[in-house]
Point group: C2
């Protein structure tokens, strides 16, 4: 193999404005923590860092769950960790599907030999509790799973009623909070959630690579009383919890530096304060929507069902989706997301997650989008977006 090392140049990814569906902009302090010297995974200093990370995660999840840790993989590993520990072959599992991530849950349940009970809603709409109630009738589900913040559509799912249905059916309530955690209220104890997973690269604004998860005592009971061993050694929480817990039993080598970064990102969140952080996400979201609508564009999701951190904007007819995103990236260094599945070419996914959720990004996005759409000859209302956004901040 001919191989010239000189062709591989210094890392220089530039500096994007990350307004896609994640990763979001990472604050300098988090990058600095990430590059602290690596130490051993059983070093007393690292064990302290693990403990502190757990405390900070509990604060963010507003939980007292003992098993509250960062899985050594990305958000999808967290999803898999929840299902693989709680579902055994033959178990009935209700999965609510209104986007990519509900669909993925079904895929995982199938691989694990679970009996899938699927409840669908159109992409861009919330799951109807009545449909869930209907689906559960006469069944004995072990787990009822749903996505809180569907990153593929921008829908925010109300959880209260569905939690009650899960409870009445004797099912564990498993919730995907990959995109909501850190950007809106997620009080899992109060919300009655038994198993939850998230990701670091959305509203926590840490690079991707870890997945915060938490299991309630009821979920731990189910784990302890399994008939068969967890099919995944790597994600077996009965062993992973021994490493994060007081026993400190070696399981696998934790991603040391990623845990530094997560701890720092969580520290930033606690310093800002949860309420202030959630309010910040909300106001920037409202300003972005006001601007987009003033421009004559429309949102995919109905008012009242929108996520504050992920905005799905309908692409105006006759607009070249890919070209708009390409110009945003090349001329403004800004990343936004395209649509997935049936929504491909129909919506843009504009993230305002964590550190990205700032007024200057809202203004930059609206200004850039208007300029690009005008240049493309799209039918928009010019000159109104910035005032509409500004009005939200006053």
């Amino acid at each position: 193999m001919s191989f010239d090392i000189k062709q591989f140049r210094d890392i220089d990814p530039g500096q994007r404005v990350l307004m896609g569906p994640g990763p979001s902009d990472v604050p300098p302090r988090v990058l600095q923590a990430l590059s602290a010297p690596c130490i051993g995974h059983l070093d007393p200093t690292f064990l302290t860092i693990m403990n502190e990370t757990q405390d900070l995660l509990r604060h963010l999840f507003q939980t007292e769950n003992e098993l509250t840790i960062a899985v050594s993989g990305t958000g999808s590993a967290g999803m898999e960790a929840c299902f693989v520990n709680l579902v055994e072959p033959g178990d009935e599992v209700v999965v609510c599907v209104n986007g990519v991530f509900g669909t993925r849950m079904c895929d995982i349940v199938g691989r694990l030999g679970g009996k899938l009970i699927r409840v669908d809603a159109p992409w861009g709409k919330t799951i109807d509790p009545n449909a869930v109630r209907e689906a559960v009738k006469g069944k004995d589900p072990k787990v009822l799973a749903i996505v809180h913040a569907e990153t593929s559509t921008g829908v925010c799912q109300p959880l209260d009623e569905i939690k009650t249905i899960a409870g009445d059916a004797g099912a564990l309530f498993l919730v995907d909070m990959v995109t909501s955690l850190g950007g809106m209220e997620v009080a899992i104890d109060k919300m009655g959630i038994d198993a939850v997973y998230s990701g670091t690269q959305k509203c926590i604004s840490c690079p991707p690579g870890l997945s915060p998860i938490s299991f309630s005592p009821a979920a731990m009971d189910v784990l302890r009383n399994r008939k068969a061993p967890v099919v995944s050694w790597y994600l077996d929480m009965s062993m992973v919890s021994s490493y994060w817990g007081n026993e400190r039993k070696y399981h696998h080598t934790a991603p040391i530096n990623m845990n530094y970064a997560l701890r720092e990102a969580l520290r930033l969140i606690a310093e800002e304060g949860l309420e202030a952080r959630f309010a910040r996400h909300l106001v920037n979201h409202k300003a972005l929507v006001a601007g987009v609508e003033a421009m004559g564009l429309s949102m995919l999701v109905a008012e009242g069902e929108r996520l504050p951190m992920l905005n799905t904007v309908r692409i105006p007819e006759g607009t070249d989706d890919l070209k708009v995103r390409k110009v945003l990236l090349s001329d403004y260094g800004m990343e936004i997301g395209g649509g997935l599945g049936d929504l491909a070419g129909k919506v843009w996914r504009v993230g305002l997650m964590g550190h990205t959720s700032r007024r200057r990004n809202v203004v930059l996005f609206l200004s850039a989008l208007e300029t690009i759409l005008k240049a493309q000859g799209a039918k928009i209302i010019p000159g109104k977006a910035l005032d509409a956004a500004a009005a939200v901040y006053t």
Copy 2:
């Protein structure tokens, strides 16, 4: 929950000399790459970084295997990825066991419903090819798995004869190279290896968090012809390979910054040159052994069967294992590893991996150990170790 964010201080892990079984010392350039700005996982710049990382991995593995990537988890995730993709329920799998990691392979095979054919050797010894030949007789194994560099014992396993046995039996040859990759010759195409996994935090000297793996065309055939879907969605290489390959189909969000760091660590390896790097590991290992033996201590593993990057030193009788390691850490900032399983309290595991494998670390370790053992009243031969080590370098 009472919660005072002021109790969580700035990250300051200090600067260790990492001479345990991994992680090893991370070079400044790798930490710098790690903290480059995060960008999107589908950003053209990141896709180029992925391609380059694959090229650099192929160079290090000395392979042309298309599926040569970094799994988004630590070495144990890589182990699981190999087995979960290649083994289906009911498949016969030969696993050679002479330490912790062979034992872990058996655990994983059991979880996947494979029929385990286990070949044991005492910890600290190599696997006897005749025992493997015997075990395979009349069987139809799909996979034959073995550990190249047993990190729990320091044994280097010759692979040639066992590869032939696997081939004759029609089994895929699956090898754990977590600790060998980057520190000694690992030419997987030439060696006839079908599936291999490694870790980033050993001789590659990148922080933990990714697992380089490679599948031969024969392994890819087995993957493509599976009857059942891969039980792990996260580690399903038929999907992961579409993200790393030309299709660029979104699967999960790659750990962006960890991939920056891996690329930089691999670039450092290529700049040094494989031969020079392996020679460096060997000479430092020989110097350490010469010093240890001159001190009157002995090695667990017989000469000729030792790993160049992981030295298992017998703890002299009457020595307080934990105290020695504690003083090394507190007074010298140096981490070495203790023994695992039956070897707990009987050996120290002294790593000379990647960036750690330097003359100054050999000298520092020998000096510190001699001082500590003398202070503990251990029966050692003083004043000889440094000269013995120096002689190796001349």
